[in-house]
Subunit: 341 residues, 2 copies
C-alpha cells in the first residue's frame, strides 16, 4: 500500500473512472468512442472482431502480498492481449471493471491503472470502458479485450492435421517456478519478518510470473515469413492442457519430445532447489503466455529461421492419443493434470 | 439453493463451461465463433461495434436472500442489453464470467445460466464466451455485451441542444420501491422466521426489481417513426444522475416538471406505506432501466403517438442549470443525490 492514502469515497464513482482513465491515450483508428457513454463504439471496417474476457479474483488468481498492484494491472491486461494474439489477431481495445473493498485507496488504484496503461501503450491498445464498484472483500478485476483480424488470417484451435509440426514459443515452466519461489519466500517471511527474501539470480522467473509478455513478436514474424499456423492457443493453463484442447478440437493425437521442450536455465535451477520435476512444471505449470501452434510440414523450412520458436513434436492420427516421448525413447501418455491451486 | 446438490469440482472448469452454455442457441449471423476458443469471432460487416461491460458482486449489487439465481442471471444480462439499446443499437453477443465460492453447486449455476439463456433468447443475443473460476467469497458475475448499429444511427450522451424535449419511457422509481419492499420483508423475516412475506398487490414493483426489461420496444418504435434522439442514456443510477450526465456532456441545462414524471400506482402506494417521497425515489432510485432521451422540438408531433414515452421537460441553456419545477410552480435545483447503499 502507498504512503499517501486518499479514500475512494472522496471522488465518487464517476469522478473515479475519469480520474483513473484520463491519461490513457487512444491509439487505434477503430476506436470511435471510448470511456464515457453507455457503451464504447468501434469501427472495425471489413475486419473480424475478436472478443475475450477474463475475471481475476484476489486470493484465487493473485496474492497481493507479493504482487505489486502495478504488475497486477500490467499482467491482467497482457493476459487478455495474449488471447487475441492466440487467434492470430491484434488487440485493439480493452475494458476494465474493478470491485474494491475499503482496504484500497485511490493511490492503490492509480498504481493498478498505471500498470494497465503501460501495457496498453506497449501493445497499442485503447482503454474504452469499464466501471468501478465497491466489493465486500478484496479486489476483483474483470477485463474484456477486443481485437481485429482479417477473416482469412484467424487461427482456431481446430485446424491441426496429422503430421503438422507442433511449435512452442520461448520457454515453459518459468512463471510456475517464479510462483513457487514467491510462495516459498512468503512462507519464510511469515515465519520471521526480519528475513529478507532471497531473489538473487532468479530475476527471470520472477519476471515471468509477475510481468509476463504476450507473443506479439512471434505473431508478427509468422506473418512476415508468410506462415499461417493450422491451429494455435496461448499457454495459460499449461502445455499439456492446451495440447489436449487442440487435439480434441482438431481430432488428432500428438507426439511431443521431452528433450525438445524449451526450459530456461533459471527454471531448471529453481526446480532442482525445490526438488521438483521441471518437465512436469513445463507441461502443467501454466501462466507461460507463450504460444503453442501447429504448422504444416510444408512450412518446415520457413519456420526454422524464426526466432523464439521451438519445434517440439508433431500431430498424429487421433487413435494414437496424446504422447510424450521421454529422453530414453519410451512413450508415455500425456496427461493434463494441472496443479492444485 | 436447490434440492439436488452436485459439487462443481465434479465437472472441472472446461466441462463446466461446456455444460452451462451448451443449450444456448446462436441467433446472429454476425457470430462466427462463440464459446470454445481463445476469443469469440464476430463479423460486423459495415456496422459499428458497441461494447459495454458490467461487474456484479454479491452483497453489493445483489442479495441472494431474496434474489432467485434465475432472476439474477436474467437481470444481469438485460442490464447489459439496456446499455446497448441506450446507444440506439441492437445487442448481439454476450460473454459471461463467474467466480463462485464452494457454497454454490452445479444446480445453482444451472439456475443462473437458465436465466441468462432466457434473456438471450428473448432479446436475440448470442452467448459467445466467458469463464468460470473459484472465488473466496460469494458470487461474482462479469458480463460484456457487444452490439451493432449503423454509424449514423448511434445516439450519444452529448448531442442534446437547448429546447430539445426530454422524454422518459415507462415509469420511474418502481424498481427502487420493490427493493425497499424486499428489504423490509427480509428484516421482518429475520426477526421472526414464521412470518410469511406480504407481497400482495405488489407484484409489479417486485418484478421491476427482480426481472427488469430493457426498452427494445421503444427503440424499435422510434426507428419506425423516423425519430433519432439527440441524446440518450438508460436510467440505471436514477433519472437525476442521468440528466446530469447528459447536460454535462451536451453542455446544456434542463427543466423537468415534477407532475410529468411518470410514476406507477404500486410505486406510489409503497412509498406512502414507507413514508417516503415517491418523487425523490423516481428521481434518484435507479435500476429502472428505462430510457431517458432528448428529441428536437421539430419531432414533437412524431413523438406524441409513441407508446410508453412521456415528455417530462426540455433542455435549456447551460447557464440555467438543472431544475425541477414543482407542482406549485416553484423551481428547485435538481441534484443527483443517489441513495446510500
Amino acid at each position: 500500500m502507498q504512503q499517501k492514502r486518499t479514500e475512494i469515497s472522496t471522488l465518487g464513482e464517476f469522478g473515479l473512472i475519469e480520474h483513473l482513465t484520463k491519461d490513457f491515450p487512444l491509439l487505434n483508428p477503430s476506436t470511435c468512442k471510448g470511456v464515457g457513454d453507455d457503451a464504447a463504439v468501434l469501427d472495425m471496417k471489413d475486419k473480424r472482431v475478436l472478443v475475450t474476457t477474463d475475471l481475476l479474483l484476489e486470493g484465487i488468481h493473485f496474492d497481493l502480498q507479493y504482487t505489486p498492484l502495478r504488475h497486477l494491472g500490467y499482467k491482467a491486461a497482457v493476459v487478455n492481449f495474449s488471447d487475441i494474439y492466440a487467434m492470430n489477431g491484434k488487440p485493439t481495445q480493452l475494458t476494465v471493471s474493478i470491485g474494491v473493498s475499503k482496504r484500497f485507496c485511490i493511490e492503490d488504484l492509480e498504481e493498478l491503472y498505471s500498470g494497465i496503461r503501460i501495457a496498453c501503450e506497449h501493445y497499442g491498445v485503447d482503454m474504452v470502458g469499464g466501471d468501478t464498484s465497491a466489493s465486500m472483500t478484496g479486489l476483483c478485476l474483470s477485463m474484456t479485450c477486443v481485437g481485429e483480424a482479417q477473416a482469412e488470417d484467424i487461427v482456431y484451435r481446430n485446424g491441426a492435421k496429422a503430421n503438422d509440426l507442433i511449435c512452442v514459443t520461448g520457454n515453459l515452466g518459468a512463471a510456475y517456478m517464479g510462483l513457487q519461489l514467491l510462495e516459498r519466500e512468503k512462507m519464510v517471511f511469515e515465519g520471521n519478518e526480519n528475513v529478507q527474501p532471497d531473489f538473487e539470480g532468479k530475476d527471470y522467473i520472477l519476471q515471468r510470473q509477475l510481468k509476463p509478455e504476450a507473443r506479439r513478436d512471434v505473431i508478427e514474424s509468422l506473418k512476415k515469413h508468410g506462415i499461417k499456423p493450422t491451429s494455435m492457443m496461448d499457454v495459460s493453463d499449461g502445455l499439456a492442457s492446451e495440447l489436449m484442447h487442440i487435439c480434441r478440437q482438431s481430432n488428432t493425437g500428438c507426439r511431443v519430445f521431452e528433450d525438445k521442450i524449451p526450459i530456461d536455465y533459471q527454471s531448471a535451477v529453481m526446480a532442482e532447489e525445490l526438488n521438483m520435476n521441471i518437465v512436469t512444471a513445463a507441461l502443467n505449470g501454466g501462466e507461460d503466455y507463450e504460444l503453442v501452434f501447429t504448422v504444416s510440414l510444408d512450412d518446415y523450412e520457413k519456420i526454422i529461421p524464426i526466432e523464439h520458436v521451438n519445434i517440439i513434436g508433431h500431430m498424429t492420427k487421433p487413435e494414437l492419443g496424446l504422447n510424450l516421448v521421454g529422453r530414453n525413447g519410451e512413450e508415455l501418455s500425456l496427461k493434463a493434470q494441472g496443479w492444485p491451486q
